[in-house]
């Protein structure tokens, strides 16, 4: 630590540069705080491990967007104005990524999202955008494949929450299922009464319901669907993979959750899971391992002597190493070269891994 003095002698840091920060960008509080927490902790673990034997500590600064696209632009401006932040783990959600992306691209702040899965995010020509997991263009078809091949549902009702993420994903699933779709409906985020949707589902009598959206609405929706007499399979995606979904109790039982996130029981993440549990006293949640990988890419850059955003961006674009979740390498749009989608199911009040969807 002694080598780390004032901002004037950055070069004195030896191995890694001093006074550099990474930022987490996503929900720390708010409705979706449950999805933000494992991401923050995953990134924090990477930073802590780095700091343990680095000469200069790297700080992880938390920028709380509450998951809201409205708050994202101002927050992104806040991030770019702080020159010591040379990499962003996030933005966590697709909506806020779309809102904050142009600002990061303009100022050349490299971002690696561990969780935003809307495919169109990579099509904006933002050189700074990177994604450490498969997008909905891979998750959607995987979900559709699971519905067709594993559940063998003959009719599916597709519901979305009108969000960037939910509507995008539901659209892909709907397209992939084709004739199997017997009806669709759109709900609103923060809506609590879904009686009209329940009536629509009952009218269509589908064997399965797919919902593209987040856990806050999914929990209420499945409760009301079950109360309304729906007894088919409920399929949701990564936005619902949160312990809060289990609040639906018996109604959640048997629900299928697809996710491009690696199960914490996978042998590849065993060391990470042990370290995570030792640090935070709980098993790694959704996207903790992806956030850990994302942060580690930046930290490897800092260790390599990267000191500014430009060099960091170049470093991330050229990165090709094995992370805990997958081989970490980005194509020229920022998409990961190596993608896996997994199925989970709710069984006896817990979300358990059900293998990879091949």
């Amino acid at each position: 630590m002694t080598a780390c003095g004032t901002t004037d002698d950055k070069e004195a840091g030896g191995d890694g540069a001093c006074d550099l920060k990474l930022a987490f960008f996503g929900p720390e509080t708010g409705d979706a705080a449950g999805l933000g927490k494992p991401i923050i902790q995953g990134a924090q673990l990477a930073v802590n491990q780095y700091n343990d034997d680095a000469e200069c500590d790297v700080e992880l600064e938390k920028k709380d967007s509450q998951g809201s696209p409205d708050a994202a632009p101002a927050l992104a401006t806040d991030v770019v104005s702080d020159d010591s932040i040379i990499g962003v783990v996030g933005p966590a959600f697709s909506g806020e990524s779309a809102a904050a992306g142009p600002i990061f691209a303009e100022e050349g702040v490299p971002t690696i999202t561990p969780s935003a899965t809307n495919p169109t995010l990579a099509d904006n020509g933002w050189d700074t955008f990177h994604r450490a997991l498969g997008n909905d263009a891979t998750q959607g078809p995987a979900a559709a494949k699971y519905i067709k091949d594993t559940i063998k549902a003959e009719s599916v009702f597709v519901i979305d929450d009108a969000s960037e993420y939910g509507a995008g994903l539901a659209g892909i699933v709907e397209k992939d299922l084709g004739d199997l779709v017997t009806g669709t409906d759109t709900i609103q985020q923060k809506q609590t009464d879904f009686s009209a949707t329940v009536t629509k589902v009952n009218d269509a009598k589908p064997a399965a319901v797919f919902f593209g959206g987040y856990y806050a609405e999914a929990t209420l929706l499945i409760g009301q669907l079950r109360d309304g007499g729906f007894d088919g399979t409920f399929i949701v995606a990564d936005g619902v993979k949160d312990p809060a979904f289990l609040d639906a109790k018996a109604a959640a039982e048997g629900a299928i959750i697809t996710c491009p996130c690696i199960p914490d029981t996978d042998p590849a993440v065993a060391d990470f899971a042990t370290a995570y549990e030792a640090e935070f006293g709980e098993a790694p949640g959704t996207y903790a391992a992806e956030a850990y990988d994302a942060a580690n890419i930046f930290l490897a850059g800092i260790k390599d002597g990267v000191e500014d955003r430009e060099a960091m961006l170049e470093f991330v674009n050229g990165y090709d190493e094995k992370g805990v979740t997958k081989q970490l390498k980005f194509d020229d749009k920022g998409e990961p070269a190596d993608v896996h989608v997994y199925a989970y199911t709710v069984k006896d009040g817990a979300i358990v891994a059900d293998g990879e969807i091949e």
């Binding site: 509080t29 708010g30 409705d31 705080a33 449950g34 009108a162 409906d185 759109t186 709900i187 609103q188 923060k190 809506q191 609590t192 009464d193 009686s195 009209a196 949707t197 329940v198 009536t199 629509k200 009952n202 009218d203 806050a216 929990t219 209420l220 409760g223 009301q224 109360d227 309304g228 007499g229 809060a244 609040d247 639906a248 109790k249 018996a250 109604a251």
Partner: protein, 331 residues
């Protein structure tokens, strides 16, 4: 846009019943807006939080008394306790609002606009206090003892699985027992209240104050006590609404009052603000219209329909469907 009339007509009875059930909850909350407006000519925008606190009182009672493992008579007893807890909590919040956010202003003859701002401020403070309850209990070192009650401060708090909600069929229409309970109890509460305001001595005081506060006080009606009574009744009704809402939906969060408050206020204006029967009619009409419109146009139009309906009705009948004010209601 495709209009889905076939679905609408095929499912008309179910859509109407679920719409009535939610409309009945709107109506009970709308009473609080309409009564305070009748007496004070003031929109109590913090009333939505009175309701929100009621939902939490219900939830916490259910959790504290272990309703998840109870059934039969035991469960009914717990539900009755939860109803009283919700009514008590909402009444206390409503009375507190009157005492802290309004009475000092009214005493100093502050303009109505100031009271309105005070109401909006109180609404935000109350909602955020609930949303920050984990932090607040942390200051007192209670967050461990209260962890079940405070840890999910900002997300949905659920009591799913406590109640079975059997459905039954009448003439091929599948009906939820909860919807029937909600509609019947809400309408019963409103009829009781209507009779109370029309026939009791206190009700006469409320109506007199609504008509002419000065003359009423010359005739021996204590205005402060009357205003308190108005807030108390509004609070009790919001408590009942909170209880029924939780029975129906099982979950609440610290922001649940906002949209419901706006809708209930709409219902009050729709029926004729200041008018008790108007609140009931407005609530039911709004609930059914939302459900019907949503069925025909799609769910994303739900909120649009509510407010287009409001504007249309006010254009034709500026004083709302039933128009008459609380004061002018015949004895």
């Amino acid at each position: 846009m495709n209009l889905n009339f076939e679905f609408f007509f095929n499912n008309l009875p179910e859509l109407t019943i679920t719409g009535l059930a939610f409309g009945a909850i709107y109506a009970l909350i709308a009473l609080g807006y309409t009564m305070v407006y009748g007496v004070l000519q003031l929109i109590n925008f913090a009333h939505s939080e009175v309701f929100m606190y009621g939902t939490f009182a219900m939830l916490w009672t259910i959790m504290a008394l272990g309703a998840a493992d109870a059934n039969g008579v035991h469960l009914v007893a717990i539900l009755i306790a939860a109803l009283f807890a919700a009514m008590a909590m909402s009444a206390v919040i409503a009375l507190g609002l009157e005492r802290i956010a309004y009475r000092p202003l009214i005493k100093r003859n502050a303009p109505r606009l100031i009271a309105l701002i005070s109401a909006i401020g109180a609404s935000f403070v109350l909602a955020e206090l609930m949303g920050l309850r984990d932090k607040i209990s942390g200051w007192f070192g209670l967050d461990d003892d209260l962890s079940d009650y405070v840890q999910k401060a900002k997300i949905n708090n659920s009591m799913a699985g406590v109640l079975e909600k059997p459905r039954f069929e009448i003439a091929g229409v599948s009906i939820s027992s909860i919807d029937v309970i909600v509609i019947v109890s809400a309408v019963a509460m409103m009829v009781l209240l209507d009779q109370f305001v029309r026939r009791s001595r206190l009700g006469k005081g409320i109506r007199a104050t609504a008509q002419d506060p000065e003359t009423a006080s010359l005739m021996g009606v204590n205005p402060t006590r009357t205003i308190q009574m108005t807030f108390l009744i509004g609070g009790l009704m919001a408590g009942v609404a909170a209880f029924l809402y939780m029975l129906k939906l099982d979950a609440t969060n610290y922001q649940v009052g906002f949209l419901l408050g706006v809708k209930a206020f709409t219902a009050a204006v729709l029926g004729g603000i200041g008018n008790l029967r108007g609140a009931l009619l407005g609530g039911l009409v709004l609930g059914v219209a939302e459900n019907w419109g949503q069925a025909i146009l799609g769910s994303e139009w739900r909120d649009v329909i509510a407010f287009v309906l409001l504007v249309l009705i006010l254009l034709v009948r500026p004083t709302g469907l039933l128009g008459e004010s609380l004061g002018k209601a015949r004895a």
